[in-house]
Amino acid sequence: MEKQTASFETITGNIIGNEGCVRCGACVGLCPYLTLYNGTIVFPDKCDLPEGRCFGFCPKAPTDFDEISRELWHAPYTGSPLGTYSDILIAKRVKIPASATPQYGGIVTALVEQALLSGPYKAALVTQWKERSFPGGVVIETPEDALKSAGSHYAGAYSLAAFNQYRQRHAVPMAVVGLPCQTLAVRKMARLNHPRNPHTGSDNLVIGLFCTWALSPRLFSHKLSEWFGAEKPGRFDIPPPPANRFEAFLKSGKKEIPLDEIRPLLNPGCRTCLDMTSEFADISVGAVEGMPQWNTVIIRTEKGRTLFQRLSDSGMIETGDLPSESLSHLAFAAGQKKKRALAAAGEEPRENSAAILSEQARKTILQNEETGDNPL
């Protein structure tokens, strides 16, 4: 086992203590030292182990991007805006049951259903709005349950905690839906050489979401009850610029909140995140500008391709070409996110954004175009 440089204090001090945590949940569900309470991680006691899973999994602890990229594609991490991929296209689900409210085209949910149907994935990690006022991870074992988790919950959900917990009981291949930070964590989990790692060598399928930022669960939930009282919105959306607003869909109708009111609720840790399109996923899914019924789909690995192919063959979805203008806007936005993250990481203690990048990747990121409006 190679010596780990991070420690429990990296998590509690440098990351959580320094507002670097992105609420992915990779460090939770493993032991009594890091547990969740009311949308935050609590750590009443100190762990003093030199080799640990929490700081081995955390995507904000030092991470060598080249190593992960080489493992997936036998090529180094380049720093290109959208990462490594083989195909990019648009897709949408053909028939959506009236009771379901997918975020856009419902492709993520469809992929989860397909993964459970055709295997080898025995379970899937999704995120649902759980009891009280926080979203959290849920493991489902049957395709019928997939649609129950449709919709985006914009707060960080610590969903990987449920992944850890399930894995310690069931060593089965799983489909994991996650944000870019979670996608990265899942790759780190499979790689960490540790005698008690429940994810060692696991054959997962990673379905990554696009993400510009997530909100702090505690602050967001607080605001929600301030805005809407006890009523919980069914769905949220952030229409693309220049809308500059956040939308919440309640039984009583759509409520609009200016983005300026949302910004103070952002996870500070997201400022140093380099990834907008879940570059280490097998398949990534996001919105398409101006086409709210559709998803952008980025196919990155063989596994991703196989699953998407099966889904197309099943007739459950419809596909199309991504308009070239949309592609260039997407690449621009993703490149800008990288650039901002690098700048923000420079201002902050290194441990906060411990992405280990090659000089080449760094250069590529900094050379990204410098035009257009800044979503943050």
């Binding site: 032991c31 009594p32 309470y37 609590v42 009443p44 006691d45 182990l49 005698p195 008690r196």
Partner: protein, 638 residues
Amino acid sequence: MKHAHPITLNEPGRVELLMGNEAIARGALEAGVRVAAAYPGNPSSEIIETLAKAADPARLHVQWSVNEKVALEVAAGASFFGLRALAAMKQNGLNVAYDFLTNLNLSGTGGGLVLIVCDDPGGISSSNEQDTRYMARLTDIPLLEVAGFEDARDMIPYAFDLSEAIGSVVMVRSVTRISHGRGPVRYGPLPEISGTPRFVPGTTFVPFPILTKHQKRHDAIKRLERDFSDAPFNTYTGPDTPDLIIVTSGIGYLFSQESLDLLNLNGRVGIARLGTTWPLPEKWLSDILAKSQRFLVVEEIDPFLEGNLNEFIGRHPSLQRGKRVFGRQTGHIPDVGGLTPEHPLAALKTLLDIPYKTRPDSYETLVESESAGLVIERALGFCPGCPHRASFWSIKNALAKDGRGGVVTGDIGCYAMSMWPSGYQVAKTLQAMGSGAGVAAGMGVLGPMGKTQPVVAVCGDSTFFHAAIPALINARFNASNFVMIIVDNSATAMTGFQPHPGTGMTCMGQPVDPVEISDICHSLGVDVTILDPFNLEETEETILAALREKGIQVLIFKHMCALIEFKKAGRHYVMRVDSKKCIGEACGCDRYCTRVFRCPGLIWDPISGKARIDEAICTGCGVCADICPENAITREEA
């Protein structure tokens, strides 16, 4: 019929091996004491416990009072009715009683009234090492110091006589090493107890007119400066013109004698031992001072005698030429802490320039390491199965979850150990009895100034009765905000399980209706929740909920002290660590039970890399089964 306790035997001449505090109690019986009251506190508790053995409602009333002030008041009440009475307390207790004492001195007494204070040099079982002798001088009351076990018995009847002679309370001071040491004591006769309490019509016990009463006290002290020259407890042994005289009191006397014997200095050095340390006996001391030029003062704790001796010399020009006084102020004896025989030895060695090899500094460490193998290593902390551990576990976890940096104010009792790892370093302040609640009441009014951290006061049951009630009333009156946790183990456990108002039994063994803490709190109109701290989940949730509330939330964590419960009911559960499930040091546990939870009933076995139950000391409380992350600790009904 009950066997008579040896302390009650009327067999003059009988020699018993008695603890200093027992000797004091015997002395009180021989003086015909009728009422004795105290609040438990080491090193004084055994005085009342011993007297309780001789208690008899018609002849001798013995009681644990709720606090030291009330104890002294109870004794004074009896004195005003013409009876001999005593109050006993530890040094901190005198502070509580002091308000009363500083008026009682002026108002005067009826029957002999003796105040016994046991100081704790080094603060072995205390929160300070205050030297209470200054407080006798401050109140113009005579001070006697016990120097041995026989002495302890002799001095008490003398103190009663003295009190009646001057119409004032008399203070007798003991220290840990005498109170808790043991030595042979020869019994004197026990008097016939007779006489009906009576408040003499027309008498008053008031401090007015103040100046007249104050003058009276000064006159009495003046008179005693003269009379104490004949007191039997002031002795001189040694040559007529010694090179040096040791002036000493208390345990210093025994240690000084020992050093002279060891150094073979009995022909060169004299010992002047004072039993009456305030006021100083004028003639006797002048004679002593005339014998030599150099004096070494050996006393515990502060330089009380040393300072008074210097002042005495200053007041007597005829004595001044070339006299030198050595002691704590000159650095010949360490500035703080109790005495050991080493201290006079080392001082004598320097002052007389004699080649005696005192113990090297490494001696203590050597003794410690050599003796370590003989005793089981145990950090200062809660006993196995202690309900306080469970309480502080939940308080710690609740505060972490609450996440606002809550502050815990501690108090005096076993649970003060919550400052240390055994209580997860939860308590952040600690002062006097009941001050946890008072300090919290102060913190709890800072909300309007922007305070965001919640406040939790932790207080024991006995401490609640002692001094926390006024603080709670104050908090309620001034609309303070905090959570008050009363850890109710139904005992004054730290000082030896004395009964208190909540236990339903007096110290004389009389059953009484217990005073319910919850009733008191209810009557103040504050919210009260009672729960069992062994129920970890419920406890944590209750604390979390209380932290979110405004006003004062009283939570009573009720669970009997593990030692009492174990004695009464034995083991509740048989505990076992399933070594197949225990993951020990591995990631996922990191010795959570032995490294973090830290009940001494669990031990870490480094060879197998597993935890196990120490069956000899585990009380079978079952709590640890709920904290093991692997469910490796199992409990089975015993």
